[in-house]
C-alpha cells in the first residue's frame, strides 16, 4: 500500500476520496464485508476466537452462527475479529462505520484508539463521513484515482458529505455572525447562547 509510504506508524489516519482498496501485503489487512462460507467458529479457526469476538463487541453465541444468519454489520464485525487474530501491523477499515448505530460507532472509535495506542497498530479508516474520524485523527489522506493528492487536517479536508453541524455553522456565518468551528452539538449550543446573550447586552 503506497498510501502510507513515509508516514509514521502506529497512528490512526483517515482516508477519503476515490479509491479501490487492494493489497497483497500480509502485514496489511483490509476489513470488508467479505462473506465467508462457513460458521463463524470455522472461519475464525483459532483458540482466540472468543476473545477476538469480545473485542469487537460480539459474544460466544456468534460462534455457531452461519453467514446467512448474520446482518451485514455483523459480518464486518466478524471480519474485524478475524483480522485481530491474524494480527497484521496495519488494519484498514473500509466504510466500517456504515450500518452501525451511533453508540456502536463510539464503541468502535474507542477500539480503534486502543488498537493504535496499546497494540501498536497503524489504523487507516476509509470513509466518506468526516464526522466519524475527526475525533480520531488529525491527519486525513485524500486520494483520487488511487493517487495520494494531499494530506489535510480534519478541519480542512474537502468533503462532499458535509456533516450537519458544519453546514449549520456555515449558514450562521452567511448571516455575518462570527462563530468558531465546533464538532459537538453541546459546544455549538453554548456558543449560540453566548452570541445571543452578548447581542441582548448590546441591544439593552
Amino acid at each position: 500500500m503506497t498510501i502510507l509510504n513515509n508516514k509514521p506508524k502506529e497512528k490512526i489516519y483517515g482516508l477519503m476520496g476515490n479509491i479501490n482498496l487492494t493489497t497483497n501485503n500480509t502485514n496489511i489487512s483490509i476489513v470488508t464485508s467479505y462473506k465467508f462460507g462457513s460458521t463463524v467458529k470455522d472461519y475464525l479457526n483459532s483458540p482466540k476466537d472468543i476473545s477476538s469476538l469480545k473485542m469487537v463487541y460480539l459474544n460466544e453465541t456468534y460462534l455457531s452462527k452461519k453467514i446467512e444468519e448474520l446482518s451485514e454489520s455483523e459480518i464486518k464485525k466478524v471480519n474485524l475479529a478475524k483480522t485481530l487474530i491474524t494480527n497484521p501491523k496495519i488494519i484498514v477499515l473500509n466504510y466500517f462505520e456504515k450500518g452501525l448505530t451511533n453508540k456502536e460507532q463510539k464503541d468502535y472509535q474507542r477500539l480503534f484508539k486502543k488498537l493504535s495506542n496499546d497494540y501498536h497498530k497503524t489504523i487507516l479508516i476509509y470513509t466518506n463521513d468526516i464526522s466519524f474520524i475527526w475525533n480520531l485523527t488529525k491527519e486525513i489522506i485524500y486520494v483520487d484515482k488511487n493517487e495520494v493528492i494531499n494530506t489535510y487536517s480534519s478541519d480542512d479536508v474537502p468533503s462532499i458529505n458535509i456533516p450537519p453541524i458544519k453546514e449549520f455553522i456555515t449558514l450562521i456565518r452567511n448571516k455575518n455572525i462570527n462563530i468558531d468551528d465546533y464538532k459537538e452539538t453541546s459546544d455549538l449550543l453554548k456558543a449560540i447562547y453566548r452570541i445571543k446573550e452578548s447581542n441582548n447586552e448590546i441591544s439593552n
Partner: protein, 199 residues
C-alpha cells in the same frame, strides 16, 4: 394511508418511509419480498454496467461515469440507482445505500422520486436520514419498536437512546435551544433554525 403489502410483519404503506434498524437486522428476506412485489430494490450488490439514459445521467450530474472504467463502491451504488430509474416502478427500496452518497446526489435523488410520485422506502441505521421521509418505522432486530410520523417518533429520545441512536443533529440542537429559551419550537432543518435565530 393505504397498506400496499406486508413484508415480514411490516405493513408497507403508500407513504415515503424510513426503516431505522439496529445493526443486527438481516434484510435478506425483505429484499426477496420487495422483489416479489415488483419494487425497484437497490443494494450494494450485483452491479455490472451502466445502463441508463443520458437525460438521467445529466439530471444527476453523473456523466463522468460513462468514461470511467475502474468503478469505486460509491460509483457502483450510483450506477445501481441510475439503472433502476429507467424502470417505471412505483416503489423504490434502498437498503443502507443512501449513507454512501454525497449530499448533492442524495438530495437530487429524493426530490426526483418525490416529483415522480414514487414511494420511497429507505432502510438505514443513519439517524440523520430519518429527516428525509415522512413516516418512520423503528426496528430492533426484526421487531417493530415504534412507527408513525417521523416528528412524533423522534420525540421518543429515551427509546432511541436505548437502541443506540442519538437524535438527529438539528433536533438535538433545537431541543437545547428551547431549554435555554432561545426558541419556542422544534426545528427539523438547518436553514429554518438559523433564519429563526438571526432573522
Amino acid at each position: 394511508m393505504t397498506t400496499l403489502f406486508t413484508i415480514n410483519n411490516k405493513e408497507i404503506k403508500d407513504i415515503n418511509t424510513t426503516i431505522l434498524h439496529t445493526s443486527d437486522f438481516n434484510y435478506l428476506k425483505d429484499i426477496q419480498e420487495y422483489l416479489n412485489n415488483n419494487c425497484a430494490v437497490i443494494t450494494k450488490e450485483n452491479i455490472a454496467y451502466l445502463d441508463c439514459s443520458p437525460a438521467i445521467l445529466s439530471i444527476f450530474n453523473s456523466e463522468y461515469l460513462i468514461s470511467k472504467k475502474d468503478y469505486t463502491l460509491i460509483d457502483k451504488i450510483k450506477i445501481n440507482i441510475l439503472n433502476n430509474l429507467n424502470d417505471n416502478k412505483k416503489i423504490y427500496v434502498f437498503f443502507n445505500v443512501l449513507t454512501y452518497l454525497d449530499t448533492n446526489f442524495k438530495t437530487i435523488l429524493i426530490n426526483y422520486l418525490k416529483e415522480k410520485n414514487k414511494v420511497i422506502i429507505n432502510y438505514s441505521t443513519d439517524i440523520e436520514e430519518t429527516l428525509l421521509l415522512d413516516y418512520l418505522i423503528v426496528l430492533q432486530n426484526n421487531t417493530i419498536i415504534m412507527e408513525g410520523n417521523y416528528k412524533e417518533i423522534l420525540k421518543e429520545e429515551k427509546i432511541l437512546k436505548k437502541l443506540g441512536f442519538n437524535l438527529p443533529f438539528i433536533l438535538e440542537l433545537s431541543l437545547g435551544l428551547k431549554y435555554y429559551n432561545l426558541t419556542n419550537d422544534l426545528y427539523y432543518d438547518n436553514e429554518s433554525l438559523v433564519n429563526y435565530l438571526w432573522k
